[in-house]
């Protein structure tokens, strides 16, 4: 019996916890705090935070190859299946009408992707400092934080830099939650009162046929030019066609609810398991957090600047603020645009106009992810 007690003691957490594990459990707790009390993207950060706690408990091996979260990771993240299914759900939840009515806002969604690539360069630049040694693949995975799109970031990071996945996902979702704090100062700094007060023309109605042909059009163009982006764009447009076809309500609802909810739980737990002391508690993570903030800021600035250009070229028909929504972070960024617009002009409701660049940003970052996969993967 004594030997039994000794054996049991040897298997307790008290006898096995390392400092790194304790620290990571505190990180998990912090994520839960941000998710629950600060409402930082709770749908992802609650499972990620809890997954981080579970995965850093010694002996239990829950993130190991035979553990529950380890099995989930292998089945859904390693294979890329989970982020793609979430993208299908996003497609089924998204109304692209504001983009179809005014397709030129796609340029705003393009401009905002500057954040991705400048951040990639920034990550390479950080290698000049001691403690940093990012490969090109690492840098590309870090850059995608600037895409402000969770499933795209997880998909790309799981392909290019799985060991950085935890930090990248945490940065991506945290900054998406911080969009209302990060974006407005940049938006105000780059525009003047008059520009911000511009009222845009109401969008034309979009017919059902247009909404059905839209996903197919986007898919075909992507297939012709950038097949590497087809898994992401393909599932996004598939989900959208389920929605817009109007004949498969059951499947559309399944994609929007059951599938996306179930997969979100599993994806969050699996991503949390990548928050291990080894890969997270180092100066590289600090670098990733700094670069992520830069990525969002640069993307926002690039979007607004492109908005100013479009404003000029259209003789003031475009409110440059809507460019900020080009980073995606749907629908948070569009709401921020609306709020900043209302500050300048109490009767200026930009929400619908900002939804166009907002969903264009989703397409834009999926395209950027495709390019990165093609060139770096």
């Amino acid at each position: 019996m004594e030997s039994g007690i000794r054996e049991l003691w040897a298997s307790t957490g008290l006898a096995n916890f390392t400092l790194g594990e304790v620290a990571m459990i505190l990180v998990g707790g912090l994520l839960l705090f941000l998710a629950i009390y600060k409402k930082f993207e709770p749908l992802l950060l609650v499972p990620i935070g809890f997954g981080a706690i579970l995965s850093n408990i010694p002996v239990a091996g829950i993130a190991g190859p035979e553990g529950l979260i380890g099995l989930i990771y292998a089945a859904g993240v390693d294979t890329g299946v989970f982020p793609l299914l979430i993208f299908m759900g996003v497609g089924a939840l998204t109304d692209f009408s504001p983009l179809i009515a005014n397709p030129k806002v796609l340029l705003l969604g393009a401009a905002a992707q500057f954040g991705i690539f400048l951040t990639l360069l920034g990550a390479i630049g950080l290698n000049a400092l001691p403690g940093f040694d990012f490969s090109l693949a690492d840098a590309a995975a870090i850059g995608i934080i600037g895409g402000a799109d969770g499933p795209t970031a997880i998909f790309l990071a799981s392909r290019l830099a799985p060991e950085l996945l935890g930090a990248i996902a945490v940065a991506a979702y945290s900054y998406m939650a911080l969009v209302p704090i990060i974006q407005p100062p940049i938006m105000r700094a780059l525009t003047n009162e008059k520009e911000r007060a511009i009222v845009m023309q109401q969008l034309r109605p979009v017919s059902r046929l247009e909404r059905i042909l839209f996903p197919l059009t986007v898919l075909i163009v992507t297939a012709l030019l950038l097949p590497e982006a087809v898994p992401l764009i393909g599932m996004l447009t598939f989900g959208n066609l389920l929605r817009e076809s109007g004949v498969v309500e059951r499947l559309s609802k399944a994609a929007q609810n059951e599938i996306i909810n179930i997969v979100t739980i599993f994806l969050g737990l699996a991503v949390g398991s990548k928050l291990s002391a080894d890969s997270f508690l180092n100066v590289q993570t600090l670098g990733i957090l700094v670069l992520g903030a830069a990525a969002f800021s640069i993307g926002t600035a690039a979007g607004v600047l492109m908005g100013k250009l479009m404003c000029k070229l259209t003789n003031g028909q475009v409110n440059p603020l809507i460019g900020a929504a080009g980073v995606s972070a749907v629908p948070m960024a569009a709401r921020v645009v609306n709020r900043v617009g209302l500050e300048a002009n109490q009767n200026n409701f930009l929400l619908m106009h900002a939804m166009g660049p907002n969903v264009a940003g989703v397409i834009g970052s999926a395209v950027a992810a495709g390019v990165l996969l093609a060139l770096v993967g």
């Binding site: 009408s97 504001p98 983009l99 179809i100 009515a101 397709p103 030129k104 796609l106 340029l107 969604g109 393009a110 992707q113 500057f114 991705i116 690539f117 400048l118 990639l120 360069l121 390479i124 630049g125 290698n127 000049a128 490969s135 090109l136 840098a139 590309a140 109401q202 969008l203 034309r204 109605p205 979009v206 017919s207 059902r208 046929l209 247009e210 909404r211 042909l213 839209f214 059009t217 986007v218 163009v221 992507t222 030019l225 950038l226 109007g246 619908m352 264009a360 397409i363 834009g364 395209v367 950027a368 390019v371 990165l372 060139l375 770096v376």
Partner: protein
């Protein structure tokens, strides 16, 4: 490092190039798609089903509003 930076610049140039080319192309192609749609809808009018305004209307919902609020309240209480 030199080489890595060079590679990074390449990726950036090509990447932003592809993003802009593809999305600019899409602007035109979506316009074409819309024009085609309108023609098809004019040619086969039955195919036109319920255009939806891009800015959603805010319909009068008195009765259903009351009922669904009541049900929602009921559910919240019951949980």
């Amino acid at each position: 490092m030199e080489q890595l930076l060079q590679a990074g610049l390449n990726v950036t140039a090509i990447g932003m190039g592809v993003v802009f080319v593809l999305l600019t192309l899409l602007v035109g192609i979506i316009r074409g798609m819309s024009a085609l749609s309108h023609r098809l809808e004019a040619a086969f009018p039955t195919a036109t089903v319920s255009p939806r305004p891009a800015t959603p209307a805010n319909p009068n919902q008195e009765l259903v509003g009351v009922i669904s609020a009541a049900i929602a309240a009921h559910r919240r209480k019951r949980r």
